[in-house]
């Protein structure tokens, strides 16, 4: 290891960590085969190089070992992005231990990653096929956290993770996206535009080499980094299946604090959070609960940039005219369509006017099938 600690140019990882990343890229195919058993994949990723290689390389073992030993001489080293490894200052504190990747490629710069991870980091995880309600909740949560100077970490696939980044961007905050493939190939490709916006102020990280294509195992492995980066993991919505709860289970296994947002008890989509809440996860209702929890964990938040607006709260609501407040309360309690609101005996013209005004104020959004969803307004808008 002494050779590995040898200092190289700034912004580079040390050779042994680069070699680990290269090896994972070469073993991507066999690892994907192993990914059918999530537990086995996690165990494999904890192995050291000399154990991992014979365990999964199969017929290519001899050839790979040969190249492994000559690594650095002939093998092309990744270019274009900055890397950081656990032997460099500023490597995220949470990523220590055999389970964590020793090295990360960083889009956005290693220094920025170091700065973002000195602030409290909260992972937002959940279903890839959530309800529109959960998407709105996740966005609100990310927006609230970003305005308070908390860094959000999430994958960049579908569903909740996308909402987390989108919410952060709406609040002009910075988030960390953990990619399941190399940074040179945005995987999934449909997130390319969101990826570009995330790395403008935030970071994207990956433990795989630049050109490595994304595979299933990569997404599973990315979840452990998302959780590893964060002090607190919040599960927004998930079915009660091993796949949807994977990130939450990793957080539990690593002893990280876990929070969950409840949903309707009858909804199978909310069964995951409910099960976690039963087994002792923290109840989260919004950004306030997360901030309170962070406060109890590591004291008051460090001073955030003064140009960021304060956390939006319900003051905007209490200043509204009576009929708008009433409509908002009704929508929040389930009368979420014009039809239902009108059935309650309200004047049809008044209902539509109130809904439009609330939508213009940013307090309501249209969800699936035209149902209205309450949302937190962004401070400074409307």
């Amino acid at each position: 290891m002494s050779a590995a600690r040898q200092v190289m140019g700034s912004g580079r990882a040390c050779a042994s960590c680069l070699r680990r990343s290269w090896l994972l890229g070469e073993l991507s195919g066999p690892l994907d085969y192993c990914a059918r058993d999530r537990q086995r994949l996690m165990e494999l990723l904890e192995l050291a190089d000399n154990e991992l290689l014979p365990a999964v390389a199969g017929r290519r073992a001899a050839e790979l070992r040969d190249r492994y030993q000559r690594f650095g001489a002939g093998e092309p080293t990744p270019t274009g992005q900055a890397e950081t490894c656990r032997h460099r200052a500023g490597y995220p504190r949470g990523l220590s231990g055999a389970w964590a990747p020793p090295m990360l490629e960083v889009a956005g710069g290693a220094q920025r990653l170091a700065k973002l991870t000195t602030a409290p980091v909260v992972a937002i995880v959940g279903s890839r096929k959530p309800s529109d309600y959960a998407m709105e909740i996740a966005r609100d949560l990310a927006r609230g956290l970003a305005t308070s100077g908390v860094t959000v970490s999430a994958c960049l696939t579908d569903g909740i993770s996308v909402a987390a980044h989108a919410g952060t961007l709406e609040a002009h905050g910075a988030s960390i996206a953990v990619m399941g493939g190399g940074l040179g190939v945005c995987c999934p490709a449909r997130r390319r535009s969101l990826y570009g916006r995330v790395i403008e102020a935030g970071c994207a990280v990956s433990e795989l080499p630049q050109k490595c294509n994304g595979r299933r195992w990569g997404q599973l492995a990315a979840e452990r980094i998302v959780v590893g980066l964060a002090q607190l993991t919040v599960l927004v919505e998930a079915e009660h299946t091993p796949g949807e709860l994977a990130a939450a289970r990793i957080a539990q296994a690593r002893g990280r604090t876990l929070g969950a947002i409840p949903g309707r008890v009858s909804s199978p989509l909310a069964a995951g959070p409910h099960a976690l809440l039963r087994s002792g996860a923290e109840l989260i209702r919004g950004p306030h609960d997360v901030l309170e929890l962070l406060h109890s964990m590591n004291g008051p938040l460090p001073d955030t940039d003064s140009d960021k607006p304060p956390l939006p709260d319900r003051v905007a609501v209490s200043g509204l005219p009576g009929e708008l407040q009433e409509t908002l309360a009704r929508v929040g309690s389930g009368c979420d369509t014009p039809e239902k609101l009108m059935c309650a005996g309200a004047d049809p013209a008044g209902v539509l006017l109130a809904l439009s005004e609330l939508e213009l104020l940013g307090l309501l959004a249209r969800g699936d099938g035209g149902r209205y969803l309450p949302r937190q307004p962004l401070a400074g808008l409307g």
């Binding site: 980044h165 014009p338 005004e357 213009l360 249209r366 699936d368 035209g370």
Partner: protein, 517 residues
Amino acid sequence: MLARAHTFTIEGLHARRVTVEVDIRRGLPGFAIVGLADAAVREARERINAAILNSGYEFPARRIVANLAPGDVRKAGPGLDLALACAVLGASGQLAPENLERVVLFGELALDGAVRASRGTLAVAHATQRAGVPRLVLAGARAREAALIDGLQVVAVERLNSAVRVLDGGPGDALPDERADANAAKQRTVGTLAPAFPAMDLGEVRGQHHAVRTLVIAAAGAHNLLLSGPPGIGKTMIAGRLPSILPPLSRTEAIDVTRIHSLTGAGVHALAARRPFRAPHHSITAAGLLGGARLGSVGEVVLAHHGVLFLDELSEFTRPTLEALRQPLEEGRVAIARAHHSAVYPARFMLVAATNPCPCGYAGDGDRCDCSEADMARHRRRLSGPLLDRIDLLVNLQRDTSRDLDADPLLSSSQAREQVASARERQARRLSPEGVLVNAHMDVRMLALHVRLDERCERMLSVARQAGLLSARGEHRVLRVARTIADLGDSDRVRPTDVGAALALRPDVVLAGSRVA
């Protein structure tokens, strides 16, 4: 010897005058037709030959040349038969050639000499009257249709013999019995003039008051409407009741509609009274929708002129079909250009469409929706863009388990019809100097003139613009709809409640949810 007869051929919605010249001289016996005739006209040789012989006349065993002038106009259809046969009789001396002047002959011949009706009778009658020819001789079955045109002497003939008798100065055949005619017409018009749904009443719709109210708004201002909701919620049921609340056709509108329907070959025995309601199946092609599949065929958008075009399961229509709707929706007409002909048809209709909010249909209905984000995006792409851009009103229908079928109906068709009629009257009073009858057809200049907003309304719109909820085109749509809602409320001013309702009903490009960030 030479004889000349006059007739018309159908070109688009109009009839073109055709002069039939027949020359008979010595030579090898034969019958040639020249002058850009299509297959149906060329086949006329055999029909004319048989009809003349079977009517007891002599078919000259000499060289016969028929020329259809003008030579550069394509002649289609069997409607030229009668004129050709009479010209042959005139040229062979069995009929005085001068009797063929100042009369138009139109009809198809049967082999036994009977005269059959041909499509486009009303257009021919209209053109005859405009051309200043005083008499029109045609098949008895369609004489009533032609008689709808004023200032024209319409003579019905059942057989070739009667036509010759008429041309020689004798009387025509009696018009067919009124009742039999009506019955026959009714049989032929199935699927054409009669709405696709039997007369239905809005009072049969229980619950869904929001959707019914919006339907009334759409009818009042002739706005395009999109109904979205899970399967079986009543989208088709509500849309099918639209004809029952629309005002009746005015006389000029009725003549337009009747002429179009006469073109399809369906018998028309009276001016159309109801607005057309066309509901083509989603497997329809662009040619079926616009017309022009064959020479002179009329599309669904043209048949829906002055009425309603209802597209059920909008997302199932093919993309080219929906794209094809752009021109008619924007300009109220459709120009068809094919290799050998081009024509412009009127097509000003109200578009009513129904769709599911997502591929499975259950988005927003509890947790039933099982569509992935990619499914949703695909569904949205199918609908969004050019077509959704021209929809003024969007209603989302939801299941309401608490008060499903025992809910009260909001209002009956007759009540709704009264509201619509009075709102349209207000619009017509305001807009008729501009040459427009309904709010949906107001252009930007008229919007600035007739839709005055107070400060609160202006503020709402500017906030909506800033929040990115409204494009420039979207804002115009909101203004038109707000004007209609004010008209329904008998208000000269556009009030904040009108703008608020128009905003709430505006079609969101995102039909289903904010799932995509």
